[in-house]
Symmetry: C2
Subunit: 575 residues, 2 copies
């Protein structure tokens, strides 16, 4: 087995293709159901792994995902690289200066929000875990330490995504949560790194981890101060004197890999080096948004799904599912984070409601708990049932976090007009050319299948239209009305090939006409959706392209590929 034969290579491509395809497919399905895509990616692995496919088709499974041999080693190499790159991206999202600018509140929430859950989980884990897990061969103290770490590191990318969805990202509560999570993660990964180094060196009884700890802290400090400053100086030079964007891309990935190798050599885990380097380089104001986006897209949509799907290959999730262990883990995780962070926020002067929101915000444990669990499993520090419990806990807390904040703060998701598009409310080529007639055409389309009286709707829309024209620049018109008998907003879209006079400011005829009907008590939905449409079509070129769409799919594809960046800044990294 000196090297990969052609047959091994083919199996490697096949297994990667299947993993990636299933992960992306179920990831998209999860998104459709308004869940994080990583949920689908993990599920894809569980289905393909020993739990389902391996259970029912053992021979096929052994052929495509062999348990040993060169293909297995190569796939491991690929997923290890994937997870290192994932942590690089996670690190790049950490904004250290934000954390420091927030001052006291962030520091208190970050510190207490780490220490409290860590202490809870460690003490409860040490006392009870061996009773629940049963005759585990693992050292109970090491087990408890990993358990505590997994339950204390937050999943920064998920949290950022949740806050953005709820339009909370730039609020006080939002920045405290983010800044707290940044500090939290910084502490957490340091502890994790030292813990791994300790176990690997055989010093599983906390014997002599000091040199490693010292080197780790020294490296982290050096990278985040001097390293960060140097990177900020080097980036503009690279952009000026090397090919674009290859110079910067190659530079970032080279140093991420070397930093990963270096931390491993120090004795802590390679992932820590990738994460730290990500923070250092991500903080540079010279790093261009386009470089970030390229890295982010490739890692989030190719490497991360491969990694998350590969998790499911490792364990049988059915036979290792221990309900008591899952409940134990879940309760401690939520209790530790909500109480710890909530109290910390409350001390810093936030209202009770806001404090609870901070608590739930920080309770999204997501991908990070899974990564911690994975390495503990590989080291033999935890067993399969504990790993399964951590994965279930991670997924559950991430799913629950957003819902709880929403409930506590009574926030709802930001409304995007694209969420209200549908092919049955789309008219690719309006027949009429007169304003009232076009409104009639769209209203008829919009109210079809509802109990609304369309003459009354037309009258309401027309009355609003006469108060002041809804024609805007770039050939856009937004006729709209609030209606008493409506439950949720309806949006109909019509494209006029010849243009319709909507008396717009710039004198141009309207070619893209959006008819929006909202409930009388719409809690700001009308304003929000209209503003979203208006904002999107300030881009004259986009408006023109949209007006030239010949069918719904083309129109929708165009809208999707021009979603403003902020809607989905951390695409698949989010769990």
């Amino acid at each position: 087995m000196e090297t990969l034969s052609h047959h091994d290579t083919a199996i490697l491509f096949l297994s990667m293709g299947i993993l990636l395809g299933a992960a992306r497919g179920l990831g998209e399905l999860a998104r459709r159901l308004h869940q994080p895509s990583v949920l689908g990616e993990i599920l894809a692995g569980v289905l393909l792994g020993p739990t389902v496919v391996g259970h029912f088709f053992p021979e096929w499974y052994a052929e495509v995902f062999p348990a040993a041999g060169p293909t297995r080693v190569a796939l491991e190499g690929m997923t290890s690289t994937a997870i290192a790159f994932f942590l690089l991206v996670a690190g790049m999202e950490v904004d250290l200066s934000l954390a420091f600018r927030q001052g006291k509140a962030a520091i208190v929430v970050g510190l207490v929000g780490f220490l409290f859950p860590f202490a809870c989980a460690f003490l409860l884990g040490w006392s009870f875990l061996d009773k629940i897990v049963g005759n585990s061969s693992a050292d109970p103290m090491v087990l408890a330490l990993f358990f505590a770490t997994a339950l204390s590191i937050t999943a920064l990318p998920v949290i950022a995504k949740i806050l953005m969805d709820l339009n909370l990202f730039r609020t006080d509560v939002g920045t405290i949560i983010i800044a707290g999570a940044i500090l939290n993660d910084l502490i957490g990964w340091n502890i994790f790194a030292v813990l791994i180094g300790m176990v690997e060196s055989g010093g599983s009884t906390l014997l002599n981890p000091l040199p490693t700890l010292g080197l780790t802290l020294a490296y982290a400090l050096a990278l985040l101060t001097l390293g960060r400053w140097t990177l900020n100086q080097v980036l503009p030079w690279l952009q000026a004197h090397t090919s674009w964007p290859g110079g910067v891309l190659g530079f970032i990935f080279t140093l991420a890999l070397l930093s990963a190798a270096l931390t491993e050599w120090i004795g802590v885990h390679a992932l820590f080096g990738a994460f730290l380097f990500g923070i250092a380089v991500g903080d540079s104001r010279h790093l261009r948004q386009r470089t970030r986006t390229t890295i982010d897209q490739f890692v989030s949509f190719i490497f991360a799904p491969l990694f998350f799907a590969s998790i499911g290959l490792r364990v049988d999730f059915v036979s290792n599912f221990s309900p008591s262990l899952v409940v134990f883990t879940l309760v401690i995780a939520v209790f530790g984070k909500v109480v710890g962070c909530g109290l910390a926020a409350s001390w810093c002067g936030l209202s009770r409601r806001e404090s609870i929101a901070v608590g739930f915000g920080m309770s999204a444990l997501g991908a990070m708990a899974i990564i911690v669990g994975l390495y503990a499993l590989q080291l033999g520090a935890i067993d399969e049932s504990m790993f399964v419990a951590l994965v279930v806990m991670a997924v559950t807390t991430s799913l629950g976090s957003g819902a709880m904040i929403q409930r506590v703060l009574k926030r709802r998701k930001a409304l995007r007009f694209t969420d209200f598009l549908s092919s049955s409310h789309f008219v690719a080529s309006l027949e009429k050319v007169d304003r009232l007639e076009v409104i009639r055409e769209l209203v008829e389309r919009a109210v079809k299948g509802t109990s609304l009286d369309h003459e009354k709707v037309i009258e309401t829309v027309w009355r609003r239209e006469q108060l002041m024209s809804t024609g805007l620049e770039n050939g856009l018109a937004l006729p709209h009305a609030r209606l008493a008998d409506l439950e949720r907003p309806i949006l109909a879209v019509g494209i006029s090939r010849s243009g319709v006079d909507f008396d717009s400011f710039d004198g141009q005829p309207a070619r893209l006409i959006f008819l929006l009907l909202t409930p009388r008590e719409d809690n700001g939905a009308q304003v929000e959706i209209l503003a979203d449409i208006g904002r999107r079509f300030q881009d004259a070129r986009l408006a023109q392209q949209a007006a030239e769409s010949t069918n719904y799919t083309e129109f929708l594809a165009l809208m999707r590929s021009h979603e403003p960046a902020e809607v989905n800044p951390t695409p698949a990294v989010a769990l």
Copy 2:
């Protein structure tokens, strides 16, 4: 060796980091010297491999790039994936409809341009290779077949790059070369795929390759007709209904991997499947430019350098260097392509000069010859010295091709104003605010170190300025003059914080002032450079950002990261 230990993972990251860093570094250096970056990437591998580092520091080399074991297997898996992705991108650049639109000329050049060199190389190789190579254990016929294939497949990406550099891409000669190369590659990869399948199945005497050949052609045909049509239908749907750009990215890489695995299963090489799928998906008019760019950038700047550097790890290039074999290979390669394609072009009615240009255009054998050689080496069909000869030949023909076309057609590279920027001719903050004074300031900077009389230069520029102001929109001004005693163009750039009245059309003061001095007999250089500057700063936002640069590096970084796409459409794929 069931799986990768943490130590193995660290070595994997270290070796990848070193390979990538060295490859990108030397790749950039090559670009500086106006050579294709892949030249540097290959050189990086040669330096790191047994030729230099392995020779002088054998222990360090064995530690970081072990010859066997899990790290080696994982690195092989990574480079195999890299090359599959590279061929995916190469395939995406193939525009089948272009080839067909060109009709007869392209078909004749493509066919004859493949068959003539193939026949030459096969016959000469069969007759003489065993005498030159010495007591090779390889089957002389198989050796001759691989030799002929390696000398007949052109390197489409290099050719495209060369033609763009010379502003020939959209000319008749240019499209005939590209279309011919597309057909050429299509035939070549089919033959290569069948050849590999034949040797692997043990049928090294042409025994029974028919089923494989049939399946291969059937798959190629199905993918390029039905598959291509289906992909074109599916892409808009994916863009409309999945997350952007993850849906499309995941889809493309999944199917590329599966197509690679499928062709391997048929019995031909996996690379062929990736290449074919690339053609099928790349031809879709629904594939967005941004998706192409993301894939292209990541593959060209991360995967491709890893692969090309890894080539050098395989062989000692010094001890396996056989001068007679290198000369033999090089002469046949150039002779076959230049004569074969030249004659074909001539038959199609091109002038003698153009025919020779077509011949030299098609003679860039580049990366593809290396890939063919690599697989032949792995199969034992050729030996190390033959592989070294192929690599040297590939690099030499790619370097020579552009120079020869340039000479034959008397074309020069398209002029970009960025090639004339220099920090000594940059004034970050102009002191003066009067038009003449500012011109004086810039002229003084421009003529420093030359024998030009600056008063005379100022007078010439000012006379031109008074004929008609050179102030343009977006705060741009382009004072310029042709001078008798100048050898090459000089460009000086000044930024005015307060603005200078250049009597521009939109009444705005000039903030970005470019002073261009060109030789009297400048062969269109003045017009070309001025047009390039004007075009670039039609983008008002870019002009504003440029005017806010505080130093030369910042200004240059901005210009580089906004190079128009066409300048470098096939970044590092080019050898």
